[in-house]
């Protein structure tokens, strides 16, 4: 909503637009002469609006969502009038089902209570409808089936490891196999089963983002050191280290002194299917004494807002038009963009910790140095992502250090070690599962 309010403000040269637009509109309405004068414009506008309303009211496809709990699993059924083309992505407790459509869906949700499924949310984009299913626990497995008659998508959620304990506890039932307990499964004739149990945690691609560049030098030191050169040098060293020692693909968002927008940086990460994103910066503070490294990851604060919006969309299913009007589409893009990093906050904090530990031991810093803030560049990155402020260019001692090649090497080495630690930790996590 605020974005809208702001747009009004800015579009009318920063003055009081909300009230005045309304006032004008009322004038138009009351003054038929004025309408007559502008009838051509109004006629065209009216025609366009009519057409859009007309096309909107034409048999709108719907999605009917229902959830049912069974003894050992929970089932979500998504019904639609026609077979669905969909794509499923999972991260932690969120399952995102992207359904391709060029017409907006009307989503009906039956109220439910489930042991495994916490909530449903949906947003309507230009070419797709995205359903988000949130579970109570991150430790779940899900299987998807589709059937054509009736056209539906069935997603079964199982708590990890529950099947074993079930068999054990229902000893009396003897061989009461899982299958018997199952409700009539969606006709599995043409089912494509997707096992989402282990989202591949194997890290293949690391995207390194040297901060600033081109016309934007970033922080500047008293001796004239510019952040953009220092961070590029460190990034290139880090790239070499990773490529040599770990068989990983490394992509840099810039390899020379050029301007790259913040959104492009995040997009480069996503387009290259980044598994880790490291944005490398040098810090600056109004406190000249400030020294040492800091590692940031995205703060959830900025995303709380989005959670509320999703909740709003969820609670207003009777207003599907909320999801399609042009101005809302922009909002939805922002919501989806913001959701990208939200799902990875836990991993991002772990990555931040691993790297900060190594940087702290390099500089002998005592404080934790891990912080959260709403960083623009991290917002849209769909993988664990951190922003490193390796040292303070605004501090003369740190600045002097940052100019030295051996210190740059040591910083790259520390980041590399932190990365190694993180990879080891995350692969351990996979083994545990």
């Amino acid at each position: 909503m605020h974005v809208e309010a702001f747009r009004r403000m800015s579009s009318d040269a920063g003055s009081i637009p909300a009230a005045s637009t309304k006032f004008n509109l009322r004038n138009v309405l009351l003054n038929k002469k004025l309408i007559a004068k502008k009838k051509r414009v109004v006629f065209l506008a009216g025609l366009i609006l009519f057409l859009s309303i007309f096309s909107f009211s034409q048999n709108q496809p719907y999605l009917k969502i229902s959830v049912k709990d069974y003894p050992d699993f929970s089932r979500a059924i998504i019904e639609s009038p026609a077979p669905l083309a969909f794509d499923i992505e999972r991260s932690f407790s969120l399952l995102m089902v992207k359904i391709e459509t060029n017409v907006p869906f009307l989503v009906q949700k039956e109220p439910f209570e489930s042991r495994l499924i916490k909530s449903f949310g949906w947003t309507m984009g230009a070419e797709s409808c995205i359903l988000t299913i949130e579970t109570w626990d991150t430790n779940f497995r899900c299987d998807c089936f589709t059937s054509t008659d009736p056209p539906q998508l069935v997603i079964d959620f199982r708590k990890q490891g529950i099947e074993k304990s079930k068999v054990e506890t229902s000893a009396n039932g003897g061989e009461a196999t899982e299958n018997e307990n199952h409700p009539p499964a969606a006709s599995q004739a043409d089912s494509k089963t997707k096992d989402m149990s282990s989202p591949s945690q194997r890290i293949k691609t690391v995207v390194i983002d040297p901060g600033h560049g081109g016309l934007e030098p970033g922080a500047k030191g008293r001796f004239g050191t510019q952040e953009k050169y220092v961070v590029l040098a460190i990034s290139l060293k880090l790239k070499t280290l990773i490529e040599r020692n770990l068989a990983l693909r490394v992509v840099l968002t810039r390899e020379e002194d050029v301007d790259v927008s913040l959104e492009t940086r995040a997009a480069k990460a996503n387009n290259n299917k980044a598994d880790l994103f490291l944005s490398i910066h040098a810090n600056s503070s109004y406190r000249k004494e400030a020294r040492g490294s800091e590692t940031y990851f995205l703060s959830a604060e900025s995303t709380d807002e989005e959670a509320r919006r999703l909740a709003y969309l969820e609670n207003n299913p009777s207003q599907p038009e909320k999801g399609i009007s042009g101005e809302n589409e922009e909002e939805i893009k922002m919501i989806l963009w913001d959701l990208a990093q939200t799902a990875y906050l836990n991993q991002s904090s772990l990555l931040a910790e691993s790297i900060q530990n190594k940087l702290n031991s390099l500089f002998g810093t005592k404080n934790r140095g891990i912080k959260q803030a709403p960083f623009k560049v991290l917002t849209g990155v769909a993988c664990p992502a951190v922003l490193l402020e390796v040292a303070f260019i605004s501090n003369v001692f740190d600045e002097r250090d940052l100019r030295k090649e051996d210190i740059q090497n040591k910083i790259a080495q520390a980041i590399f070690q932190g990365l190694e630690d993180y990879i080891a930790l995350s692969s351990q996590g996979e083994v545990k599962k």
Partner: protein, 192 residues
């Protein structure tokens, strides 16, 4: 001729209906509580009665640590929260009187301050806040949250703060913190 007029008339009527719908739909959204175009009577600063002041707390940096530190100020206890909030920001730009460090460039000018019914304060600064800004995450965070905390802490009706530059939305101050969303206060940054 008659038929043509009839079609035009019906089309006009139709578009009228559409406009009415749009009018009523758009009318439910938030309104700006006050702004420079408000009636001039409201714009004239009410003559403060002598002695009518209130204490507010501003937040600055200190050499001691990375936290924001309090500094009390007296401002005119104006009947309008917006005018009080403007005073607070202007005092913040002036800087500390007790040797604390100001995280706002002194050249910065406050252009305007709006407050929505929902409690979002739109604080519009001059370009200086970007041009004279130190580019670094720490600097940006302290600039932003000294503004946000100073407003939210003193004025209950301000729940969130949206920072504008020269009347426009800006992506960031210096390439780090996202300005395209309103900020909630972050009192964790305040020293005990």
């Amino acid at each position: 001729m008659n038929r043509k007029r009839l079609t035009i008339l019906s089309l006009l009527l139709a578009s009228l209906v559409v406009l009415v719908i749009i009018f009523f739909r758009s009318g439910t959204k938030e309104k700006i509580k006050s702004s420079p175009e408000a009636p001039p009577v409201q714009l004239q600063p009410s003559v403060p009665k002598p002695g009518e002041t209130r204490k507010i707390v501003l937040f600055f940096l200190s050499d001691e640590d990375t936290f924001l530190h309090r500094e009390e100020r007296e401002i005119v206890a104006d009947s309008s929260i917006i005018r009080q909030a403007k005073q607070a920001i202007e005092e913040l730009i002036k800087g500390s009187e007790k040797g604390l460090i100001s995280p706002l460039p002194p050249e910065t000018k406050l252009r305007e301050l709006y407050l929505t019914k929902e409690g979002v304060a739109y604080v519009d600064f001059s370009e200086d806040i970007v041009q004279k800004q130190l580019s670094g995450s720490s600097a940006e965070i302290s600039t932003i949250y000294s503004i946000v905390n100073s407003l939210s802490y003193n004025f209950d009706s301000i729940k969130k703060v949206f920072i504008l530059i020269e009347g426009q939305e800006r992506e960031t101050l210096g390439g780090h913190i996202n300005l395209s969303r309103p900020f909630l206060p972050l009192y964790d940054l305040i020293a005990d």
